[in-house]
Structures are given as structure tokens and as C-alpha cells.
């Protein structure tokens, strides 16, 4: 039960900051895909950088565990292509479609209904996927530090510098 309470409280906080960052907007998401407005990239990359440092600190202290998903080329590339097409049509990703409805963007409802159908269709297609895309190019649970055979604190500063460089570029170009 408390697991569910933690879930909703965490969601409320996350939804609050998504709305404050102005990323729940069709115009911002399509703006990023059209390379006109990098608001969502700024939000996402900042969140990822803070999350990376915080979570690796916690794992080093033995206070948390990484949750690494398998890299399966067939599934990741195939799924990524489909996701990109769908995202470009809808203008919201699954989490932001829900958040968009919260701030009054009712077109998110159509997206959510479509996503329920998409989830149902995937469940039907799963037996075929399991024999094809889901086994093509299975590289296992790899990470960048693991592949490079270096400590994660070698990769993280490079990642932060790359992010900072990207942000400076965005600000210079007014994106």
C-alpha cells in the first residue's frame, strides 16, 4: 500500500516540475523535433545529469542499485523508429500526454486513448516480437563505463562537460 502512496507523491512532484519547465506542450515537443526550440532537451538533459551524479553516488555508497535494461538492437532501433513517428504525430510522449491533460491540453486525451490501443496491440504482437526483433542483436545489460572498461567517474565528468557545451550552444543560438 505505501508503495502506491510513494508512487502518487513522486508523480505529483515530477508532474509539478514538468509543468513548471513548460515541457508539457505540443509546441515545445514538436519545436524540438523541428530543431526550433530546445526547451525539452534542456529539461531532460539537466534532469539526466543530476540523476546520473545522484544515483551513481548512491550506488557507490551501497544505498541504491542501478536498473540497467538490456540493449537489444532490433527492439531498440525498431521501437525507437516507431516511437519517433508516433511522437511526431501526437506531439507528446506517454508521460507528458498525461501531464498535458493536467494543464488543460485536451488533445492529450486522444493520445492517451491511442496509447491504450497501442499497448493492447503490442500485447497481441508480443509472441511474434519475441521470435524476431526482441532477440536480434541482444548485447545484454551494457553500460558506457562497462564497455569502455573505465570507472563511471571517468565517464560522468565528460558527460557533464558535453551537456554544458550543448547548453552554451543552445543559449548562444537562442534555441
Amino acid at each position: 500500500m505505501s508503495e502506491l502512496v510513494y508512487g502518487i507523491v513522486t508523480g505529483i512532484l515530477f508532474g509539478f516540475f514538468l509543468q513548471r519547465g513548460k515541457v508539457l506542450r505540443y509546441d515545445k515537443q514538436i519545436g524540438a523535433l523541428r530543431l526550433l526550440d530546445m526547451t525539452i532537451v534542456k529539461f531532460m538533459f539537466t534532469a539526466i545529469l543530476v540523476g546520473t551524479v545522484g544515483i551513481y553516488l548512491l550506488t557507490d555508497l551501497g544505498l541504491a542499485k542501478l536498473s540497467v535494461k538490456s540493449t537489444i538492437l532490433g527492439a531498440t532501433i525498431g521501437g525507437g523508429l516507431l516511437f519517433g513517428i508516433g511522437w511526431g504525430l501526437l506531439g507528446y510522449c506517454p508521460g507528458t500526454a498525461i501531464g498535458a491533460i493536467g494543464e488543460g491540453r485536451w488533445d492529450g486525451v486522444w493520445g492517451v486513448l491511442g496509447m491504450l490501443v497501442g499497448g493492447a496491440l503490442y500485447a497481441e504482437a508480443y509472441p511474434w516480437m519475441k521470435q524476431s526483433l526482441l532477440i536480434w542483436g541482444d548485447l545484454g545489460k551494457i553500460t558506457l563505463p562497462g564497455v569502455l572498461h573505465v570507472n563511471h567517474w571517468v565517464v560522468i565528468p565528460v558527460f557533464i562537460l558535453a551537456g554544458a557545451g550543448l547548453f552554451l550552444f543552445f543559449e548562444k543560438k537562442n534555441l
Partner: protein, 133 residues
């Protein structure tokens, strides 16, 4: 980064940093990472169960991803509530059926926007589940 506020909104860097902190806190307190798409698949299963529970029980995917309300499902509902609270407090809540950028390009036909959004949602969710995103 020139300013931390943009009208009634925050800088995306500031809001993103807070979102990152919420993730770190969540992983620390409950071990839960953020995600949303699994909950749509579970919800689809929950809805299908209303019509035929036996059929859902035979679908292999739903034996692995059981149709149920879990941490992530509540997290997704929380996003809806959190966004509503933030929009109302800041005075940025705005009921809108057609996004501005869409209207400029494709006009104000609600059915057209609805159809494309629906198809987009279907395709995006299929892809998200396939890539395990």
C-alpha cells in the same frame, strides 16, 4: 541560463534539475526509477479484463506484465495531478483542444487533430513497449 524565470514559468534547467532530484530521491527511498509506458499496457489489460478475463489470461504478454495498479501506475496518475496543481497555482492552466503550432499549419479541425493524435499515440506506445522504454 540568462534568467531563471520565463514569464510565469521556470527555466527548463531549474525545473529539470528539480525533476532529477525527485528521481534520485525516489531511487533512494523506494528503488523506483521513472517510466510510464508499462502502465498503459497494464491499463489496456485491465480494460480488456472487463470484457473477457479468460482471454486476457491467455495472452502471454499479460502473464509477464500483469494488468494491475502498481507504483508506476500511481506515478502516472500523480503526473496528471502535479501538472494540474502547478498550472492552477501559476495561472498557466489553459483549456485548449488544438495546440497553437498545429493550428498554424493544419487549421482548427478538432477531428483531424484528434485522429492524428490517436494514431500517433497508438504507434508511439507500440514502439515504446517494443524498445522497453
Amino acid at each position: 541560463m540568462r534568467q531563471l524565470r520565463d514569464g510565469n514559468y521556470w527555466s527548463p534547467y531549474l525545473a529539470g534539475a528539480f525533476a532529477g532530484l525527485v528521481l534520485v530521491l525516489s531511487v533512494f527511498m523506494t528503488g523506483n526509477y521513472f517510466g510510464a509506458s508499462t502502465s498503459f499496457a497494464r491499463s489496456a489489460g485491465l480494460i480488456e479484463q472487463i470484457f473477457s478475463a479468460e482471454r486476457v489470461a491467455r495472452i502471454e504478454y499479460f502473464t509477464k506484465t500483469t494488468p494491475k495498479i502498481d507504483w508506476q501506475w500511481m506515478f502516472v496518475i500523480g503526473i496528471l495531478i502535479g501538472s494540474f496543481i502547478a498550472a492552477k497555482i501559476s495561472g498557466t492552466y489553459k483549456a485548449q483542444t488544438i495546440p497553437d503550432m498545429w493550428q498554424e499549419k493544419f487549421g482548427s479541425n478538432v477531428a483531424l487533430r484528434g485522429t492524428v493524435a490517436f494514431i500517433g499515440g497508438t504507434v508511439a506506445m507500440f514502439g515504446a513497449r517494443l524498445a522497453d522504454g
